[in-house]
Amino acid sequence: MPPELSIVAGAVALPFAAAGVTPVVYRLVGDRTGYLGAVVALACFGLLGSQLGTRGVVSSSWVPSLDVSLRFYVDGWALLFALLASGIGALIFTYSARYMHEERNLARFYATMLAFMGSILGVALAADLIVVFLFWELTSLCSFVLIGHYTDERASQYAARMAMIVTVGGGLFLLAGLLLLSVAAGTVLDGSTFDLAAMLADADAVQAALREEGLFVPVLLSMGVAAGAKSAQVPLHFWLPNAMVAPTPVSAFLHSATMVKVGVYFVGRLRPLLGSPEWTLLFATVGLLTMTAGAMLAVVATDLKELLAYSTASHLGLMVAGFGFESVYGGEAGAFHLLNHALFKAPLFLVAGIVAHEVGTRRLDGLSGLWRDLPVTAVIAAITGLSMAGIPPFSGFYSKELLFEATYEAAHAAGGLTWLYPALAVFASVFTVLYSLRFLAIFVGDQPDAIASVPRPSASLVVPPGVLALATAVVSVSPQFAVDVIVQQAVDSTAAGTPEVHVGLPDHLSPPVAMSAVAIVGGVATYPAIDRIRAGTEEIVRARALRPCWWYDKLLMGVEETSPRLGDWIHNGLLRTYVTWSFVAASALVLSGYAATGEVMPATGEAAVTAAMALVLVVAVVAAVAVVIAPSHVAGVLSLSILGFMVAIFYILASAPDLALTQLVVETLVLLIFLLVIEQLPAFYADVNRWVIARDVGVSLFVGATAFLTVILSSPAASGDPTAIARYYATEAVPEAGGTNVVNVILVDFRAFDTLGELFVITVAGLSVLVLITMRNRGETK
């Protein structure tokens, strides 16, 4: 059954529309704007839910000349992700209405959250590479705004900038990868195409074309970097813990349930297209390393949200690794865990938010025995926390079991070093159990005296995580139900064939079951020694060279220190420096362009120079020399005018009256402006350095030679026929545009859009002059 375009497009557009009216709504209803967001998210959830079971592409044309269209691909995988985003979104908005009570800048907060939700739905459903990129970057942008919610705090600024640099930098890799992909796909599917759905339909042919053109590995790596940056994979995971300075609803929504999963989602999307041994090597390795590193860092964490952040990175690694394996189990692990993780991690964040909100601290060391005051919250935390640990029969267990199965299958098939895969997975799982228990420990035991009385959280804080915990419980009790409803369809979309997913509690001992047992027993058995493990792990992860954050700071500081040094050379406030650099750089670029294309030999042909032209040109050259050696400004300006008027006469001789007219009036205007300012110019500057003169002469000759070469190369041979486009302009000017002045017809009719652009340039130049002169007394003083 094909999906309905209006419903799908409506679900994506609705949040954006709501974001637009949010400031007005906020002015009317204040704090309760959060409920508007919840209603919008619920509406999207309903719209998308009605499409459950459909599969296909719907599109509406956007930029037909570039073959870009608003194309949406609806299948189980897209719907799973989109439904998660909108469903969790509804709960988060409800939670925010209470949690963000009396915060500042709420209109911006809700508008950005809504826009973010629209972008996520866009990424999930888009099937056009350009549209995918657009929404992908929009999510990064919204994340930047939301992380930096507390605009005055340095930590927020630092974290927001870091997230921006890492995720948008990754986005550039995505752009490169997508363009390469479309180039390769263009050879198979007819013409250059951005249609992801068509590529997926013909996956084998596209992959063969990629390999043939030698683009397979570059595409794979670009996609790997893009997904890794977005989904916090090692070594680009460091932005995620820093992003925890954002308000808790943001952490729960963006940095655990949705945005960080965009990378995972896209890996799953591309799996049928790029699946290969190289794919497995890259994603299984990176995923398992992230899973291990994240789990170890989570054990070391001292803050509730920091623990959850590293744990999120670890679980994202699990999903990426799952998709990395080519076996059926891999895809199942990835898709099923995406669902499970969203259902248990978002409520855990909300629980952390409740603890912070009611108790006033998020430090793990100071918290224990909270179950007495927060019983409902403790139950929610228990269900979801045990699911995070992967303890049977909680939901996380089933998907982790699938990953163990995938690693075991891969190792069993390939042997050798690939046995490291299951070993790493088990090792990471031991740490997962450890930190999950550490998290739950805040609810058990005796309540320390420092926490006197904890107020009851209000219902709108407890209900959203409660609903999610209930969902986790449902999946835990009946995993096959979740599979039947949506996971099976999602797995179908991420795998090449149509595998049957079966999950449930194990009934006999198999290698994956043994692996689970080792992980759980290992974790529980070592828990009493957690302090020593923490200290030992801390030794490892605190090593400077192993901390990407340190490298990031170094890099950024290096850039910040180097730029002012370069500034003295390039940006020293002297107009002639700017002119020198820009002219030399432009000329060098132009020349290297000619060299690269091999266009260094000018077209041969007789230059039709008459005696009159030669005379005019000679006068012009003499005037040019006179400008340079002129003893006074007046003489210089007049010589310059002579030069200009000679050029105008040359145009007349070359029968270009429009050019000549323009040259004449501009020359007159320039002369007039010189008359205005000439009295203000100093009569004597300074004795100039010989080296400076030599440099200026060199630059002038270089630029002049480049311009000369360009003219020679670009003008058609005098004897040759006019080009097709020149002929078109000449013959069509009268019948098409009704004008006999071809130059003017080109300017205002055939190429009016260019003229429009030039008018903007003129306007911007005028505004710049205004601003420069207005600001000259307010600028920096050096």
Binding site: L669, A737, V743, V748
Partner: protein, 154 residues
């Protein structure tokens, strides 16, 4: 620069330049000329007035209004008028582009029609491109005069 010679010359020359500029603008579609050339030429005319008589002349001498002494160049009525001029110009240009959309044509499409049996001229060609060209003219005049007056005031 405000000598008698300059003033007298400007008095005679400026009207001629202005008429020439307008005619260049209007005939641009079929003969040498157009919005840009007309605009620069108009700027030259105003620049000449400015050099010969000063910035206040347009207000005081031509329009017969009072000018408060001591207003800065940015608040000067003439200069704000120049600034408004290029905004209007941009609006005309973009508006002329959107006009085509109403007839289901791409942005900035132009067309023309020939009106016959007009007295004196016999036939006149009316091109939508002229609207666009007038916009170009306004932008060029506005920007150049703004720059000229602000720089000149320094």
């Amino acid at each position: 620069m405000t000598t008698i010679i300059t003033k007298t010359t400007a008095r005679i020359v400026v009207p001629i330049i202005l008429v020439l500029a307008i005619s260049l603008l209007l005939q641009g579609h079929n003969l040498p000329g157009g919005g840009f050339i007309g605009g620069v030429l108009t700027t030259v005319a105003f620049g000449l007035v400015y050099v010969a008589y000063g910035l206040d002349y347009l207000d005081v001498g031509v329009l017969g209004r009072e000018v408060e002494p001591g207003t800065g160049v940015f608040e000067h009525r003439t200069v704000t008028a120049f600034q408004r001029l290029f905004v209007v110009g941009l609006a005309v240009v973009i508006g002329s582009g959107f006009g085509a959309l109403a007839f289901d044509e791409p942005f900035l499409s132009q067309t023309f029609t020939i009106v016959e049996h007009v007295p004196i001229y016999h036939e006149i060609e009316l091109a939508t491109a002229l609207v666009f060209d007038v916009g170009v003219y306004l932008v060029v005049v506005g920007v150049l005069l703004t720059i000229l007056s602000v720089v000149g005031a320094e």
